[in-house]
């Protein structure tokens, strides 16, 4: 959608103003209700009070503005970028703006979620409308004061001017503005007039982060709070039989030990005592002999790929005919392990369940849903649950799941004490909600140098690709196309992990395209561009990506990455992928040191529409690309008899600085509505790296992590 498209909703549905007792203007807007067309207001407008809004702008009499940012901050930068959008349309200098994490009111939560790289995309219209509406109210108030027509006045940088050359600051008219009707049909700025959007802004929490101020859930302290360290079944599927607490109780600082379900919590006055107490618990768990192992998963996933009873997810043309008539058929099977999220800040949450309320504080990507689940768990009215969000030491999907919040609430409910559950790294890695192990089998038919058929099968642990993915590239680009999926139900808990499914699927497909290019003797970039020519944007409404935008993105990456123009010591790999509404293409440059690949540089082109905050946007891409490379290279996690085989960074390898390439990011310039950046940089990275390694050594990598199989040999492709 172009930014100047007419907005179809009414601001009356989401905006409300009030004069502040202390002077100034408070504007509330219901951020999420305003995001969708035809959304019904939550309650009768005439009865709204400020509890019905989940974000606010406060304009003080001195003209300074406070924006309460509604969405959880997990390091993706929305606490900076979302307020920038409001400030742009409000037209105030960015250094007159301060940002606070929006307070939460569980009674009225709609969708305060960090997930799916959607915060900016959903917020774009609402945030602009809110800023522009507030600005118009200030202008109207000034015009009334001067006795002139508002249309003869202009406002910029916090100052309102009229045609007589008179000026008023926003702060001079806020009290009058608060009494006015909320205007409709305000004009939004043209992108060429942007003064804040598109100019880099530094993370609004920077000073607190670099000086070590309390910001995170793990830093939260409350009067009388006990620290809880929880002993959970070491193997998935294991049950608690009995435990002996004698030794644990003898540890200084240990106050209480409580069992809940198959878990035992040790409550102590400090973290060290709680952790020691947990280790000293003598727990008798049920036998783990018959529990799941990765070797079994491997066989189960193979059986799914070989079965005839998969779920059909998309089918175009006639795949059987294409394969029957093919000159050549290529087939590959790709395999990925489970992955833990490994947020640097291990899971933690504070809960104080008391007679009059349930107070929860901590890092959570899904505060609303989690608060409801807590209310259900401990039989409390949802209105009694008050949840405060803290900054999160990483999320990557793990903090979508409120399991650790439920633990804290349950322990506090049993003990009637304020409790903070704290995970050790071993707890965090061992009681995860992992990226599921997955296998893909891809088969392509080639006839007269063209790709005529494409058949993708997914076998995954617990659940399969979400519904949009079968409509990603190459859907629409290949006439005969089929996607099928199946899953194996496991006791091991799995869930979303940064760019769910596509974090591995993109590697599989983008590696496979390189082999197709080899088979038909075509440059890999040209192959992708040629396939995209088969797609007419808008013709098939189900197709998720834009062929034009993907083409432009690929061309920009190839140009900036000097595709095909490197010297003899550098080898290149290419990948392009659309996910989370953003198009990304990457060129990976590697060199070889005694046959070992050194990843030198990744050149990235991104089309995310208008870039709100280039400083933060580049940070997201740099992080996503290196994350993708790191997990493709090193991420390895398996189970034996239900037990995770790694529990800490001594054996589990995360990418570190010496292994990181320089990431150079280029944005496709356009005026299209912005889309998210937290995830889409990651998926293409693994494939581009695998293709570079193939270019350098001829080795075709089919399994992650690459580190386990990198060697110097060629594998045969044709079947």
């Amino acid at each position: 959608m172009k930014t100047n498209d007419k907005i179809t909703f009414s601001r009356r549905n989401f905006i409300r103003t009030s004069a502040l007792a202390s002077g100034g203007l408070l504007i509330g807007f219901n951020f999420f209700n305003s995001c969708k067309e035809a959304t019904v207001p939550p309650v009768d407008i005439s009865k709204l009070d400020f509890k019905d809004f989940n974000a606010f702008i406060k304009i003080a009499e001195n003209g300074y503005v406070t924006i309460f940012s509604p969405n959880p901050e997990i390091g993706q930068g929305v606490k900076t970028s979302m307020p920038m959008i409001i400030a742009e349309e409000l037209d105030v200098p960015w250094d007159h703006v301060s940002v606070e994490q929006g307070a939460l009111d569980t009674k009225n939560f709609q969708r305060q979620v960090a997930g799916g790289s959607q915060s900016i995309r959903f917020g774009w219209d609402a945030l602009r409308q809110t800023g522009a509406t507030a600005k118009q109210m200030l202008v109207n108030a000034a015009a009334a004061k001067w006795g002139v027509d508002a249309s003869t006045c202009t406002a910029s940088n916090g100052i309102i001017k009229n045609s007589n050359g008179e000026k008023l600051g926003y702060g001079d008219v806020v009290n009058e503005a608060a009494q006015l009707e909320v205007p409709e049909n305000v004009t939004l700025k043209s992108p060429k007039d942007y003064k804040i959007i598109g100019k880099g802004a530094i993370n609004v929490d920077i000073d607190k982060i670099i000086t070590g101020k309390p910001l995170f859930g793990s830093d939260y302290v409350a009067e009388g709070m006990l620290i809880a360290s929880v002993s959970r079944p070491p193997a998935f599927g294991q049950k608690l039989i009995s435990f002996d607490e004698t030794e644990a109780k003898s540890i200084n600082g240990v106050k209480r030990i409580v069992q809940f379900g198959d878990k035992v919590a040790v409550l102590a006055t400090n973290t060290w005592a709680a952790m020691k107490g947990k280790k000293a618990l003598n727990v008798n768990w049920s036998s783990s002999n018959d529990l799941e192992s990765s070797s079994q998963h491997n066989e189960e996933l193979d059986a799914i790929l070989n079965s005839k009873n998969l779920d059909l997810r998309r089918e175009d043309g006639n795949i059987d005919k294409a394969f029957a008539e093919a000159d050549q058929i290529l087939e590959r099977t790709y395999q990925s392990p489970f992955l833990p999220h490994n947020c640097m800040e291990p899971m933690n949450f504070y809960a104080n369940v008391s007679e009059d309320k349930v107070h929860l504080v901590g890092p959570i990507q899904t505060p609303a849903g989690t608060a409801r689940r807590v209310a259900d768990l401990i039989n409390r009215n949802p209105e009694e649950v008050h949840l405060e969000m803290t900054r999160m030491g990483g999320g990557f999907g793990r903090r979508l799941y409120g399991d650790f919040v439920l633990e804290a609430a349950e322990i506090s409910n049993i003990t009637k004490k304020p409790v903070k559950v704290v995970y050790s790294r071993e707890d965090d890695m061992g009681a995860g909600i992992y990226r599921p192990a997955i296998k893909y089998r891809i088969k392509a038919s080639i006839k007269s140098g063209e790709v005529t058929g494409y058949h993708l099968k997914e076998a995954a642990i617990n659940s399969n690709m979400y519904g949009l993915i079968p409509n990603f590239f190459p859907a629409g680009a290949i006439a005969n196309y089929k996607v099928e999926t199946g899953n194996f139900q496991s006791k091991i808990t799995t869930g979303a992990w940064r760019a769910p499914y596509t974090n591995f699927l993109a590697f599989a497909e983008q590696s496979f395209f390189d082999e197709i290019a080899d088979a038909i003797n075509k440059d890999p970039v040209q192959l992708r561009l040629d396939l995209l020519k088969n797609v007419k944007d808008g013709e098939d409404k189900s197709i998720e990506y834009s062929a034009k935008r993907m083409t432009d993105t690929i061309k920009l990456a190839a140009k900036k990455g000097n595709w095909g123009k490197t010297n003899g010591n550098t080898y290149q790999g290419f990948a392009a992928y659309y996910s989370h509404n953003t198009h990304v293409a990457e060129v990976v440059d590697i060199t070889l040191n005694n046959g070992r690949p050194i990843i030198e540089k990744v050149t990235v082109a991104v089309d995310c529409g208008i870039v709100i905050n280039p400083t933060g946007a580049k940070n997201q891409i740099e992080g996503g690309v290196i994350d993708g490379i790191g997990h493709a290279m090193y991420g390895d996690f398996s189970f034996k008899n239900g037990k995770p085989q790694d529990l800490n960074f001594g054996s589990y390898r995360l990418i570190s600085m010496k292994d990181t390439p320089i990431v150079e990011t280029h944005f496709v310039e356009n005026d299209l509505s912005p889309t998210g950046l937290g995830e889409p940089g990651l998926p293409p990275a693994g494939g581009a790296l695998a293709n570079a390694i193939k270019a350098a050594t001829g080795q075709i990598l089919l399994k992650q992590p690459f580190i386990k199989s990198i060697k110097n040999r060629k594998t045969d492709l044709s079947v």
């Binding site: 400090n270 060290w272 640097m344 960074f649 010496k658």
Partner: protein, 153 residues
């Protein structure tokens, strides 16, 4: 149990803790200096890095009771009243994403630059390699260490 005094950021604290309580938890739970973070508890990630007598040290394994007479500096005491050049560089280049590991990164970098005021790229990468950043803000950390070196020279 042990009774001992601990000098942190120039101030002396009288501490009673278990003999084996790591410095990290004394800082966080007893002295309420929470800028130093827990990441792994086995000295592998670097989020808990502080300075002991000016040298970057992992605080998660080091019993605090053995540190009587040592000068301990945490992120809160790296510089008072103004920002340390390393912190300035971190701000200028907008290094953090989630921010959780950054205190440890800054403590490692500031100690390293004292020992090697004019490092090359390779030396920076070696010095910072043992501090993990799950958000992978490594490119900016590298640049910020180089920028801080320039500011300090």
């Amino acid at each position: 149990m042990a009774n001992y005094s601990l000098k942190v950021n120039g101030k002396v604290y009288n501490i009673t803790s278990d003999d084996d309580t790591p410095l990290l938890w004394v800082l966080r739970d007893e002295i309420n200096l929470v800028g130093t973070k827990y990441g792994c508890g086995i000295g592998q990630c670097g989020t808990c890095t502080v300075h002991v007598n000016g040298v970057a040290t992992r605080s998660c394994l080091l019993p605090a009771s053995r540190l009587e007479g040592s000068e301990i500096t945490t992120i809160e005491g790296l510089e008072t009243d103004k920002l340390h050049p390393v912190q300035e560089a971190w701000k200028e280049l907008d290094v953090p994403q989630c921010g959780y590991c950054q205190a440890g990164q800054i403590m490692t970098a500031s100690s390293f630059l004292k020992q090697n005021p004019n490092p090359n790229k390779e030396e920076i990468r070696n010095a910072m390699n043992a501090n993990l950043c799950r958000c992978a803000s490594y490119n900016r950390i590298e640049k910020a260490v180089a920028l801080a070196a320039k500011k300090m020279s």
